[in-house]
């Protein structure tokens, strides 16, 4: 038998349906791959017993012929998703050994459709980071290395564990979340496909909140089709999240292979940054050429407020985070610091429990919401946000179906290489992705090529609200043209 872990999700679905192998076999293959890949530190919690039980149940259903769309497919779950009875920490010390009594809506929909949980995946603490270096469980290794180098690179973040595990064939797909690029940037760094759907497409219920108006769940997978299959199960209206939208979830997979002829693709001139590596520039042109060859029409578009997006994002996101993280106070659950007074208890709990990056953002957020600063920072950032949104709306009103941009300004970098002295160096990773969150739009990152050092690079497609299907159709065109990329195993 070929290595079951190297199958795509779509291939595995066929194998299971044809009874070529069982979910238990598929699950065991992944569990053993996980065991051998602990060096990557992608999983922070392995749940083999639960995985096998779920696999057996799936096998039973497949045998009876009432299998769900993801029956028997082993997945990894970002540790931001609450999983009933399974420790959920958001990779923060402050949650300690928190075990939820509830299951997030997104994961419960995956289990409803028959998927199997292999365990919980590493991420930046509270999803704050772009390299998966802020996790209390330590950094995650990228399965990709520079040619001829032994340096371990970051997988990006905050969904670094998800991207690394999918790229390293430890799971067939993974849940992830994206507040400023946390799905798309790690996907680009690991040659995986990651889609952040429209804000409101997936329920946020049961996902540890970072910045509520920006957070959105989505999948990371090894192909555009696989990501479409996963999103279909993850998406949907949830009365428990009033920001989720009551629009029927289409069969995203049906968009794969659909002609893109006549689609208008916007190329935003403001994304041509000074000092952008020539390789990225080249990749972007290549991507445009592939879409053109498939019949799409290219137009130059302008998104004039792009340059304000990153600073505005780093006001809005920390502001919301400072409030969202106030509940971690040591009173009801998680870590409790010692203190003679309630104030001391708060201070010690939060000083011990939060890592440096989280503390920084809580401080920034508290500052920008303070009396006397609110108008100058938070309110102004919200105005910028409106302008960014309007930029995109203007584009779409002129008939543009999707916008093509690079996913990241560089390829993966070494652990500890960036942001040590200046956090802004790290924040710049999100320069192409934050606008999409600020505008609430769907965005997909698709692997598109490699740089001169052999590291993967990705392109991003940005779509109209709730038109993820367009992104899947166009994404698959790029995937077909660029081919698929698998890292050589070193772990």
């Amino acid at each position: 038998m070929t290595d079951l872990t190297s199958l795509t999700l779509a291939e595995a679905r066929k194998g299971l349906a044809d009874k070529t192998f069982t979910s238990l076999e598929l699950t065991d293959a992944h569990l053993s791959a996980i065991e051998k890949a602990r060096l990557l530190n992608a999983f922070v919690m392995e749940t083999p017993d639960q995985a096998r039980a779920m696999a057996r149940e799936a096998d039973g259903k497949i045998a009876k012929g009432d299998a769900g769309p993801l029956a028997g497919i082993p997945l990894g779950i970002k540790d931001l998703f609450a999983t009933k009875g399974v420790r959920t920490t958001a990779c923060s010390k402050i949650l300690g050994n928190f075990v939820p009594t509830y299951e997030s809506t997104v994961t419960s929909q995956l289990w409803r459709d028959g998927a199997v949980m292999l365990g919980k995946l590493n991420n930046d603490e509270f999803a704050m980071g772009s390299a998966n270096e802020t996790s209390c469980f330590g950094p995650v290794g990228n399965p990709w290395r520079r040619e001829g180098s032994n340096t371990t690179l970051v997988p990006g973040g905050s969904s670094g564990g998800s991207a690394s595990a999918v790229a390293a064939l430890l799971c067939m797909g993974a849940t992830a979340t994206d507040t400023g690029g946390s799905i798309r940037q790690p996907a680009a760094f690991t040659a995986t496909v990651g889609i952040k759907p429209t804000y409101g497409r997936c329920s946020r219920w049961g996902i540890v909140a970072f910045a509520s108006s920006l957070d959105q769940a989505g999948p990371i997978a090894r192909s555009v089709r696989d990501s479409a299959m996963l999103l279909r199960s993850m998406a949907g209206h949830d009365p428990k999240d009033t920001t989720s939208v009551d629009i029927a979830v289409p069969d995203y997979e049906a968009a794969i292979g659909k002609s893109v002829k006549g689609m208008k693709i916007g190329i935003p001139k403001e994304y041509r940054l000074d000092g952008m590596p020539a390789e990225i520039e080249k990749l972007w042109s290549e991507g445009a050429a592939w879409l053109k060859a498939a019949g799409a029409e290219l137009v130059e578009v302008s998104l004039p407020h792009t340059k304000y997006a990153l600073p505005a994002y780093y006001i809005v996101a920390p502001a919301e985070a400072s409030s969202n993280l106030a509940r971690y106070d040591g009173v009801r659950y998680g870590l409790r610091g010692q203190g003679k007074t309630i104030t001391e208890l708060y201070e010690n709990t939060r000083a011990e429990g939060f890592g440096a990056e989280v503390r920084r953002r809580v401080m920034i957020g508290t500052y920008v919401l303070s009396a006397g600063y609110y108008d100058a920072y938070y309110l102004r950032a919200q105005k910028v946000r409106t302008l960014i949104k309007r930029d995109f709306e203007d584009c779409f009103e002129r008939g543009v179906d999707a916008i093509l941009t690079p996913a990241t300004p560089s390829a993966a970098f070494g652990i500890g290489e960036k942001g040590g002295a200046d956090p802004v160096e790290m924040y710049l990773n999100d320069v192409f992705t934050v606008t999409v969150n600020m505008a609430g739009l769907p965005g997909i990152a698709v692997p598109s090529g490699k740089d001169s050092q052999g590291l993967p690079l990705g392109l991003q497609l940005i779509g109209r609200p709730f038109e993820e299907e367009t992104l899947f159709s166009l994404g698959e065109v790029i995937e077909q043209a660029a081919g698929r990329f698998t890292p050589a195993r070193w772990w």
Binding site: P100, V208, K240, S322, I342, T366, L369
Partner: protein
């Protein structure tokens, strides 16, 4: 009705005027909490009515309870206030164990209800109109107990997340009497609407009172806020104390520090809780978990159409339909339960146009008087509306006199029973048999020839004869018949 004149406080340097504004926190009557499905029932075992949202577990999200929105709109309509079709929930951020989220979901810049006004009745037929600044919805925090254990505090999350309406008045209140009457009126309106039970003992209604003093006509003085007053009596006491404290400071050449104070009912004084400098920076911002609260005018119109009759309307109707005095009508409508009782009596009367006013007198004088004397509540009256209506019918139709009716009321109060049957079985019926009365009349005239002779010149002494006849008939003679007979026999 006349516009109120208010009380001024005398100081060493002359009269001082109080300027008072109030924030009333009224617990919304609803089955479940403002943003969660947990029960709001009072008195459950600690921490048994707590949802994952109330406990602020990771990843939990608030979902607005539409019934609470309806209740807020109803209340706004009852306060003649502007209803805002779009309002916004904000987070008020501060750390305290009674607030699991680390923020209270409230409405800051855009409340659901805007400006309105309330007509407040005072003693002596005076009244005053108090402006409403706004009404907004917010979460009640949890309840803390600091005195159960020596070194630890206990938290009960049952109350956490229950909907509150914060009703903010304009600084239109001028003395303690007005303040007390204002709270009483607000409570009455909300009880009529069924939007808040107004039970101050259970904490369903609490008031923060802002007090400042000034020389009449002078600009506003610096105010102090007295937090969390939970009885109308304390509101009055706290205002009086606080105003006098401020006057004393000002007359000694001092200045008032803007601060938050607490009233200690045992000592009858207010004391400083925190100064303005120690005030929290709440870092309000729109709650990103909740969309703006939007509803249509027709939603408001429907609620408006289904509002019950409110005290002011009811009072006007009682005056117009039954000729009640403003005062009596005011007494009857002040508490919803009293008005309901009176109206139930009306409904059961054989002839309410004739006897409606008499019914009001009976409810107010006999029933309320007796209830007050025994410290009982109208809802636990031994005389039912049915029994009282029967007594009034018996008077109205002339079966018993008013005097006998009082005896009958006493019997019903003590022993219960059907008034009509009691009148029969105990021989309380009024004697309308003219020949029987005539005999008594004749005897009395015969026994008092002097008085009978005088009565032509002094018709007012007829009353003496009436009294004598009634007395010797044991009160059962029909007073009207006695009157008529006496007049004809005495030739007046």
């Amino acid at each position: 009705m006349s516009t109120a004149t208010h009380k001024l406080l005398k100081g060493a340097t002359g009269d001082w005027e109080m300027v008072i504004g109030m924030e009333i926190h009224a617990q919304v009557t609803s089955k479940s909490k403002l943003f969660s499905g947990a029960s709001t029932a009072f008195g459950g075992d600690p921490n048994t009515q707590v949802s994952l949202v109330d406990a602020a577990m990771p990843g939990m999200l608030p979902v607005i309870n539409e019934e609470c929105v309806r209740q807020a709109v109803r209340t706004g309509l009852g306060l003649n206030a502007k209803i805002n079709l779009r309002s916004v929930f904000d987070r008020k951020n501060y750390f305290y164990p009674d607030l699991p989220q680390g923020y209270q979901i409230s409405q800051y810049k855009s409340p659901v209800v805007g400006e309105g006004d309330v007509l407040v009745e005072l003693d002596g037929g005076r009244s005053v109109s108090i402006g409403i600044e706004r009404l907004h919805l917010e979460q009640d925090p949890a309840k803390m107990q600091h005195d159960k254990l020596p070194s630890q505090s206990l938290i009960d999350l049952n109350r956490c997340g229950v909907a509150l309406m914060e009703i903010v008045s304009k600084p239109d209140i001028r003395d303690a009497e007005q303040a007390k009457a204002y709270v009483t009126k607000l409570r009455s309106i909300m009880r009529y609407l069924g939007t808040c039970d107004g039970d101050m003992e259970k904490g369903s209604l609490r008031a923060d009172v802002n007090v400042s003093v000034r020389k009449p006509g002078a600009p506003l003085g610096t105010r102090c806020e007295i937090k969390n007053l939970n009885s109308i009596t304390f509101i009055g006491q706290a205002i009086e104390y606080e105003a006098r404290r401020q006057i004393e400071i000002l007359e000694d050449g001092g200045k008032i520090d803007q601060e938050t104070r607490l009233y200690d009912p045992n000592r009858g004084e207010t004391r400083s809780l925190r100064s303005k400098e120690e005030a929290h920076d709440y870092r309000y911002f729109p709650d990103p978990d909740l969309l703006p609260l939007e509803f249509s005018q027709s939603f408001v119109d429907e609620l408006k159409a289904s509002l019950p009759e409110l005290p002011d309307q009811k009072k006007a109707r009682f005056v117009a339909d039954f000729g009640l005095s403003d005062y009596d009508a005011g007494v009857l409508v002040a508490e919803r339960e009293s008005a309901v009782f009176y109206e139930t009596v009306l409904d059961r009367l054989a002839n309410r146009a004739r006897d409606g006013k008499m019914a009001a007198n009976w409810v107010i004088n006999e029933l309320f008087g007796r209830l007050n004397k025994e410290g009982r509540d109208i809802t636990d009256s031994p005389v039912t509306s049915e029994q009282l209506a029967a007594i009034i019918d018996l008077i109205g139709e002339g079966t018993i006199s008013g005097k006998i009716a009082k005896d009958l009321f006493e019997i019903v109060w003590q022993e219960g029973g059907d008034p009509r049957a009691l009148v029969e079985s105990r021989g309380m019926k009024q004697v309308t048999d003219l020949s029987a009365i005539e005999k008594v009349v004749d005897d009395i005239i015969a026994a008092n020839p002097d008085k009978a002779a005088q009565v032509k010149d002094k018709p007012q002494s007829l009353g003496w004869f009436v009294g004598q006849v009634m007395k010797s008939s044991g009160g059962k003679a029909n007073p009207q018949s006695v009157n008529d007979l006496l007049k004809s026999k005495l030739g007046i």
